[in-house]
């Protein structure tokens, strides 16, 4: 799988940036994920009042 991913470095880099920005969007711009379970919010994303 890793070899396959290596062939798509550019799209994977875009996906990586997208996912990193999604983390802040999930925490700052919504109060909850879609369904009834969500991962524990990391400390770096919940520092202070948002």
């Amino acid at each position: 799988m890793m070899a396959l991913l290596g062939k798509f470095r550019k799209p994977m880099s875009i996906l990586c940036s997208f996912l990193i920005s999604m983390a802040s969007i999930i925490v700052v711009h919504s109060s909850c994920a879609f369904l009834w379970g969500e991962p524990e919010c990391p400390e770096c994303l919940r520092e202070g009042e948002v």
Binding site: M2, I20, S31, F34, W36, C41, P42, L45, V50
Partner: protein, 205 residues
């Protein structure tokens, strides 16, 4: 299932981390987003399979569409485990679909449901998970305003097309989501008071 997903997330996370030389903060954010998205996507696929088997895939899609608009702004109950969340999701959508099939909506019921929903949202929403940050009053107001608008839009849509299956499903999803906000708020108030009593006890000892 959750172990399989954890392994997949671990592999992808390691790939991204090593390939793009991510900093610690970026790596943590990436993992959080991947866990949130992959877990929800997998649950949605399982739900689709279950509801396709019982012959109600469209009803699930209608209900999920309404819920996905409302839940990010209102919050609600949360489960610690993957299985707990999945089981509750199945029960929630089955109850919503059963209600839509067995109770005929009329203007009175929809008006009462919409007004009660607006009241609950404007007083109690959002109910975020315990691990989330504290939202500023401005943000809370924004969340309430958006969710109020979503409920109002569905009420207006019902008045325009009361026989539409999407609208009938969504009215019950809104009602169940608001019941959940009540329960979620009750749980968070109870947890808060238990924590205060524990702190007071620790100080006294």
């Amino acid at each position: 299932m959750s172990t399989l997903l954890d392994k997949l997330i671990d592999k992808l996370h390691n790939y991204f981390k090593n390939e793009f030389e991510l900093r610690e903060v970026e790596s943590i954010k990436l993992r959080y987003a991947m866990e949130a998205i992959i877990n929800d996507l997998s649950k949605l696929l399982i739900l689709l399979a279950i509801f396709a088997l019982i012959g109600k895939p469209m009803e699930l899609i209608y209900s999920f569409f309404t819920l996905s608009m409302l839940r990010p702004y209102t919050g609600g109950i949360h489960f610690k485990t993957y299985k707990g969340c999945l089981a509750f999701s199945v029960v929630f959508f089955i109850v919503a679909i059963l209600l839509a099939y067995n109770i005929t909506l009329n203007n009175t019921i929809v008006t009462i449901v919409s007004l009660l929903s607006l009241l609950i949202i404007s007083l109690l929403a959002p109910v975020p998970a315990k691990t989330r940050p504290v939202y500023s009053p401005r943000k809370v107001c924004r969340f309430r305003l958006i969710s109020g608008l979503i409920v109002s839009c569905h009420f207006v849509l019902y008045l325009l097309a009361s026989k539409n299956p999407y609208i009938i499903n969504s009215i019950w999803v809104i009602a169940l989501q608001c019941i959940q906000i009540l329960i979620g708020k009750g749980v968070s108030i109870y947890d808060g008071s238990v924590r205060k009593i524990q702190k007071a006890y620790e100080h006294s000892v």
